[in-house]
């Protein structure tokens, strides 16, 4: 059976762990991954709780296909209430952790409470222990992983660095050094629980009906679908590909979103990364291997991904690949989300250059830029203030119009003034500004649909959000652009029951609405679905998008159409009819 049927529940306050059966009714309605973890959190978390208190819960959730040979199913959902935004937060981490957890016998781990002193969670099949992390606390995520590997051997570990320990809203969780559960302060949830790391080893296996036939069928799908021209960009280039696309389309964030093209884009684009490439690296069961392991000078990283090249490169005016690689490596080690860190440093740069407040960093100056991850993670020097993120900084020092965040989560690498649909995607994403709920730039800025109109954009964003919701609940990696029909075909084989594409579409809509319901319960509504002022009022100055902005009235119309098509009211609240329709 593809699910193990078992959930591990660990109470860090009492030190006790128990197992319980997977809620099968919820598994049918939400599948796993994103949807199922949000369901558990919706049912178990009281509204209004402090995300950094012991009352928050951290859920590590696999999917029904995790641990099988189905391509691109090796990721893990990591979910909690977000310390950065106060919304629901689900992240996705690659690497090899998820299957190991499944082989250990668990569909998920739910971590509750708070340990009295730093611990790490040790899981080896049935053996579950909280071990002292006294020797690890204060160390970076990388050193932590190395030490645990040297101690335990053949385990997969995910760990926080100093940023998570210090409860930063931009703290992430790292695994195998360079894979992250990145956004919304997920690392701070671990830090607030005194949980330094989770290490797992599993010796079990997963069975599916007619496994040889299943494998043969999936090998054919792997060749004809997963590795088709649509997806092979991940192997040949990886995400740095997108630097060229964004530059051409005029949506490459430059100098704190002051512009959409960067004069040194060709120092940090795909060709530049390939010039320092040592090896391609894949997550578990992925034939595409999007990871780029690079070495330049004394530094190395598996990356940089597009978001890092954009937010920590062009957005900081840094056209020096070695500097971006080092900044990336430092963030991965200290445990900082590169999107939020890049945005925060860029904001500090603009504030300094405009003479509003001197944070000691300027666009294009690599030396101070490279000091930032350490100062921020350890809350030292100017990092003490910067660690709070752009929204808090703007509240205190000004510059609100160009504090680039939605719901206090910093904006990813696509300039909304050059892709109005991305503006809507950022405004309506469940966890704050996010490009992974809907990525409509693919169709307008990077496609043949007019990016500077609101026509059809609401529907496009809704369809993408729902598609990704079910995709990340079944757990397929973003980079396999598979159809819902294909998803249904594979799930039907693995779960021994007929699942249709229609059923999956409903699950997608249900998951997205449940996330919204969680947020509604926390007091979120229309007023929180807006973009920073800069987007509505300042025109871009160079390239393809010269002179462009996203007028507020157009955004309002697009947002209203979005609510209407979603079946929500004018305040952005889900109607009773819609709740009933989706069994919420």
């Amino acid at each position: 059976m593809a699910y193990t049927g078992k959930i591990l529940r660990v109470n860090l306050s009492t030190g006790k762990s128990t197992t319980e059966p997977l809620n099968e009714e919820w598994a049918r309605e939400y599948l796993g991954g994103k949807g199922l973890s949000i369901k558990y959190l919706y049912e178990e978390l009281k509204p209004g709780l402090d995300p950094l208190s012991e009352n928050n819960k951290l859920i590590l959730m696999t999917g029904p296909l995790t641990g099988t040979i189905v391509p691109n199913t090796g990721k893990l959902s990591v979910a909690a209430k977000s310390p950065a935004t106060g919304t629901i937060l689900d992240c996705s981490i690659g690497g090899h952790f998820a299957p190991e957890l499944k082989y250990a016998g668990y569909d998920a781990v739910i971590i509750e409470g708070k340990a009295k002193s730093p611990v790490y969670l040790y899981i080896e099949d049935d053996k579950v222990e909280l071990r002292s992390a006294a020797e690890l606390w204060g160390k970076g995520a990388h050193e932590t992983e190395h030490i645990i590997t040297e101690t335990l051997g053949d385990f997969i570990t995910m760990a926080i660095g100093q940023a998570g320990e210090n409860l930063l809203p931009m703290a992430c969780i790292s695994s195998e050094l360079y894979r992250q559960a990145g956004r919304g302060g997920i690392g701070a949830v671990m830090g607030s629980k005194n949980l330094k790391a989770v290490s797992v080893r599993g010796t079990g296996g997963i069975k599916v009906p007619d496994i040889r036939k299943f494998s043969a069928a999936l090998n054919k799908i792997k060749r004809e679908d997963t590795m088709s021209d649509d997806n092979i960009w991940a192997y040949t280039d990886g995400t740095p590909n997108i630097v060229d696309l964004s530059q051409d389309a005029g949506i490459l964030p430059t100098r704190n979103f002051q512009d959409g093209t960067f004069e040194d884009y060709d120092k940090i684009h795909s060709e530049a990364v390939k010039g320092v490439l040592k090896a391609k690296k894949a997550c578990f069961a992925c034939p595409l291997g999007c990871g780029n392991y690079v070495e330049k000078g004394k530094t190395m990283v598996e990356g940089p991904e597009y978001e890092t090249l954009a937010l920590c490169g062009s957005n900081c005016g840094i056209g020096d690949l070695e500097a971006v690689i080092e900044f990336n490596r430092l963030c991965d080690d200290y445990g900082l989300d590169t999107i939020s860190a890049g945005n925060t440093v860029a904001f500090a740069m603009e504030m300094t250059e405009k003479g509003i407040h001197d944070f000691g960093v300027r666009f294009g100056e690599a030396a101070m830029y490279l000091e930032m991850p350490g100062l921020i993670a350890k809350k030292e020097g100017v990092g003490a203030e910067l660690s709070r993120g752009v929204s808090a900084l703007a509240d205190k020092y000004g510059g609100k119009e160009f504090a680039m965040a939605v719901k206090k989560l910093e904006i990813p690498g696509y300039e909304p003034r050059g892709s109005w649909s991305m503006g809507l995607a950022y405004g309506t994403a469940d966890r704050g500004a996010c490009h992974l709920r809907a990525w409509p730039a693919a169709e307008d800025a990077f496609g043949d649909i007019d990016p500077l109109t609101i026509d059809g954009k609401a529907k496009m964003v809704i369809d993408m959000q729902d598609d990704n919701s079910v995709k990340f609940s079944a757990i397929f990696c973003d980079f396999w652009a598979l159809s819902t029909e294909r998803m249904a075909e594979i799930l039907s084989l693995a779960l021994e029951r007929e699942i249709t594409a229609e059923e999956l579409t409903v699950i997608g809509e249900r998951v997205y609405n449940l996330a919204r319901l969680f947020n509604e319960r926390e007091g979120f509504d229309r007023k929180d679905d807006y973009l920073p002022e800069r987007i509505y009022t300042e025109k871009l100055s160079t390239g393809f998008t010269k002179g462009k902005l996203l007028p507020r009235e157009e955004y309002e119309k697009m947002l209203s159409e979005y609510y209407q098509l979603r079946g929500w009211d004018e305040k952005g609240l889900i109607t009773e009819a819609k709740k009933k329709e989706l069994d919420l």
Partner: protein, 78 residues
Amino acid sequence: MILVTLQLRGPLKKYGPEAKMFDYEIAAESCTVRELLEQLKVPTSSISFIMIDGKKADLDATLIGGEMVIVNPRVSGG
């Protein structure tokens, strides 16, 4: 006979001489982007967007020689 300069980006490189940029001869007085891609056997489903001399263009745009044509690949995530 007209000449255009072509950039096939990312995984689309394999449809050309595997160079960053190259000159391509078209045996006609003019041709559409669609026809050019057909000649190179680039499947249109693999393309995200096309730029001609720095402006977005569609598959039916006409080339008359001397243009810089950039063909961008499809990507799914970010």
